[in-house]
Symmetry: C2
């Protein structure tokens, strides 16, 4: 298992499922295929197939009364993706980009940001939150 | 045609081909399937298929004595990807990340960075090149 194994599933599609499953569990307490299907804009048949694949990879389990849950490994990947999503979103919001652009860019970038690159973004984010004069100066150059 | 049509082909795989074709033309003067195959680590049969698809999309042409060339539209997309590649690489290098990590992250991110996000990175890059005290301060926090 590679050193990256806790950061991504190795598949952008699987990453997106894990992210949405964790979002749903945190919002609603459970992740139903119908809600995963709606959030990802993917047919229920495809969701069913992917849940089987995630199960085979040891990333989700199906429990009789709780529905789809994340395994420990699935949870770690989902957490890492959501952290990247939040950090990248907060960073781009500093610069006043419109929300659609931010969402679109972040959904793409979040699968490709290593721990080191995330740390760079995080350090910049903290600096710019503390130094409004610098942020203002940068925003005027956009 | 969407406002983004000059920025990406809509397919990560096609983007990567266009990027490599332009790299090869600029390095060697021509882009041969064997070199595309080597640079992308993809079989020559797959390269042949993709070149046909890029031709059908109006992104490359085959000319008898020059081999594969980019159409104007293909060239604009390739230029945009290479600009994103260079800006992202230069930005991450400021922070001393190792070259493998940078290459891997940039190859993923370059397909998902809008013009607005690229502008943010570019403004930060210029600022940090001009303010070595700030860069040093940030690097110490990594
Ligand atoms: Mn996301
Ligand atoms: Mn590239």
């Amino acid at each position: 298992m590679s050193a990256k194994s806790h950061r991504t599933s190795g598949s952008v599609a699987m990453d997106d499922y894990l992210e949405q499953i964790l979002n749903l569990i945190e919002e609603k307490g459970y992740a139903r295929p119908v809600d995963i299907s709606k959030n990802l804009g993917i047919s229920q048949a495809s969701v069913t197939n992917m849940l089987q694949r995630l199960d085979a990879e040891g990333l989700v389990k199906h429990e009789k009364y709780r529905g789809t849950i994340l395994t420990e490994k699935g949870r770690m990947i989902a957490d890492a993706i959501i952290t990247r999503h939040q950090t990248l979103t907060e960073f781009l919001r500093l610069f006043g980009l419109d929300e659609d652009t931010i969402y679109h860019d972040v959904e793409g970038m979040e699968h490709h940001v290593s721990k080191s690159t995330l740390r760079v973004i995080d350090v910049l984010l903290e600096e710019l939150k503390d130094d409004s004069a610098l942020l203002q100066k940068l925003r005027e150059k956009l």
